[in-house]
């Protein structure tokens, strides 16, 4: 039963992608089909540049598409902002179709950041088999799939998501896919969702996240899965007469 449902989901993916990426031609005498487009609040240049350094530090790319997952140890460490910044940088730099997929079903915030309607999203696609909603952003070549309304059982939905061919199908269409993943320790679906990405970037919030918790998260997923870590909200203080510490 469940297998059949997943098969139906997989069958729907090409149609949704086709609709999002190649809208049908205008038929003479009819109004043009409306394509959903959101105005993403412009991020500061220095922030996008920092995010650019993240993807540039990650090996891969070239002829193959890449799927980078942004995760963290605990919730609220800034992974959604960094995922958006990285997707913006990738889309602007490569001028290739870039997707920002929000998989943090418990604490979805991308729709709020982008100013688009939160649903339907990934949750609705998995649960109700409604068409997959792919939103075109104001940034050229950047597309967004919001998580949708928070479900009551995010772990089950994440498992079904992992069973589907969604990420592989998306990777076939988008050269760059950035996945905003749930937190590894504080979320029940964190480690399961981490399987969706080829490479993981771990966001650590400075002066907030205990290092032993970060160590636990790294050991939980496996050190080799991580392309690297990002120290977010870092503000090293120094005495007025001393040399300011260098940023990485």
């Amino acid at each position: 039963m469940e297998k059949e449902r997943i098969q139906r989901l997989n069958a729907d993916i090409p149609t949704s992608l086709e609709a999002a990426l190649r809208p049908p031609q205008r038929i003479p005498g009819f109004a043009p089909r409306r394509v959903e487009r959101v105005e993403v609040t412009p991020l500061p240049g220095w922030f996008v540049d920092r995010c650019r350094r993240i993807y540039m530090s990650i090996p891969g790319g070239g002829d193959h598409s890449r799927t980078i997952g942004i995760t963290s140890t605990l919730a609220g460490e800034g992974k959604t902002s960094i995922a958006l910044g990285m997707a913006t940088a990738l889309a602007s730099d490569t001028r290739e179709p870039t997707l920002l997929l929000e998989c943090d079903l418990e604490r979805s915030s991308l729709a709020r950041i982008c100013g688009c309607a939160p649903s339907p999203g990934l949750r609705e696609w998995v649960e109700t088999e409604s068409p997959l909603r792919i939103v075109k952003s104001s940034v050229d070549h950047l597309f967004i799939i919001p998580a949708g309304t928070p479900p009551s059982d995010p772990a089950r939905l994440t498992w079904e998501l992992a069973q589907s061919n969604l990420v592989a199908s998306l990777a076939a269409q988008f050269r760059n896919t950035v996945i905003d993943l749930p937190a590894l320790i504080s979320s029940s679906s964190g480690s399961l969702a981490a399987r969706l990405a080829d490479q993981l970037v771990l966001v650590v919030r400075s002066a907030t996240t205990p290092v032993n918790e970060v160590e636990r998260a790294v050991e939980l997923i496996g050190r080799e899965r991580f392309a690297g870590a990002v120290l977010n909200a870092h503000s090293p203080r120094h005495l007025p007469w001393s040399r300011p510490p260098q940023l990485y």
Binding site: T41, P44, F47, R50, C51, R53, I54, S57, I58, G78, T80, S81, I82, S109, R112, I113, V201, L202, V204, R205, S206, A207, T208, T209, P210, V211, N212, V214, E215, V218, R223, F226, A227, G228, A229, V230, L231, N232, A233, H234, S235, P236, R237, H238, L239, S242, P245, L247, Y248
Partner: protein
């Protein structure tokens, strides 16, 4: 250092409370709550107790300082405790004799004498019952004056005894000299006891007689001076109560407000420092990129500065 600054900055409200507000609150509380009541009396010292004759003090000490020193030395003695008890008996302080004995024994070590100027001596006694404090302090002043008078009387008596012995000796010598002259005149009729005599023996006897008279007169003069000095010291050595016993307040810690505030401030700063050390030891949050990289064994790709503008998201 960066980590310490970071810890202080991240909990700056707590440190403001510990290092600024708490000392201020404790100092304010200390000026009203952390104070003890005490009885104090202002005494006027005419002369230093050890001064031989009125007015002049010994060395560089002022009369008040000398009197304060003397009081400090007299107070712990059993003689003073007994005098205090007797003075309390006379003033009917306390319910009965046993209570007075207890009060006298407990009060004696608590008296504090200090000079407050060249001639003013402050004697204080801390306690909680104002009427008893004032009465005990009054009795203490009376007891001290008695003790001082007794000391003076003893001292003058000793000098007088010594001078009396000298006077007796001088008078005996005078009588012997007079007898020797009279005997010589009786044996040598025609000779008169005069310094103009041509007889050398008579001349010698007359000289001895004059010396004996001079010695008697000298000792009598010393005795007269002693009487005058005794009267003078009795008047000047006694402490005059300038400011009658009354109640006042004093800080529990230290001698004054600034000292007390300084002690509270140091204590609070020590508390803040201890809190900082505890934070330092317990804090395991990621702050240093190098430490994070070393502990995770994962490359640190980039550090992103604090982005307050992201709050709008």
């Amino acid at each position: 250092m960066s980590r310490v600054l970071d810890l202080v900055a991240s909990r700056w409200k707590t440190f403001v409370v510990l290092a600024v507000l708490l000392p201020a609150a404790l100092t304010a509380a200390g000026s009203t709550v952390l104070q003890r009541t005490q009885a104090s009396v202002g005494l006027w010292a005419q002369a230093a107790p050890s001064a031989p004759q009125g007015g002049a003090s010994q060395g560089s000490e002022s009369p008040a300082q000398a009197q304060a020193d003397t009081i400090t030395q007299v107070i712990p003695t059993t003689a003073f405790a007994e005098a205090l008890r007797q003075a309390m008996d006379r003033a009917h302080i306390g319910a009965d004799a046993s209570e007075r004995n207890q009060l006298a024994a407990a009060a004696a070590p608590q008296f504090r004498a200090s000079s407050a100027g060249s001639h003013l001596v402050l004697l204080t006694y801390p306690c909680d019952v104002p009427s008893t404090c004032v009465a005990v302090l009054g009795a203490a002043v009376e007891a001290y004056n008695q003790q001082a008078a007794k000391l003076r009387a003893t001292e003058i008596g000793q000098i007088r005894t010594a001078l009396g012995g000298q006077l007796d000796d001088a008078q005996n010598v005078l009588v012997q000299a007079e007898n020797a002259v009279a005997t010589y005149v009786a044996q040598h009729p025609g000779e008169t006891p005069s310094s103009a005599s041509t007889d050398p023996q008579m001349d010698l006897l007359v000289g001895q007689l004059a010396a004996a008279k001079q010695q008697v007169v000298s000792v009598q003069g010393k005795l007269s001076d002693l009487q005058v000095a005794a009267a003078s010291r009795a008047a000047q050595g006694t402490l005059t109560t300038l400011d009658p016993p009354h109640m006042s307040r004093r800080a529990v810690i230290g001698d004054g407000g600034i000292f007390q505030a300084a002690i509270i401030l140091v204590a609070c700063l020590a508390l803040a420092a201890a809190y900082l050390v505890v934070l330092w030891r317990l804090d395991d949050t990621a702050r240093d990129p190098r430490v994070l990289e070393r502990r995770l064994h994962v490359p640190l790709l980039v550090t992103i500065p604090r982005f307050s503008a992201m709050r709008r998201f």
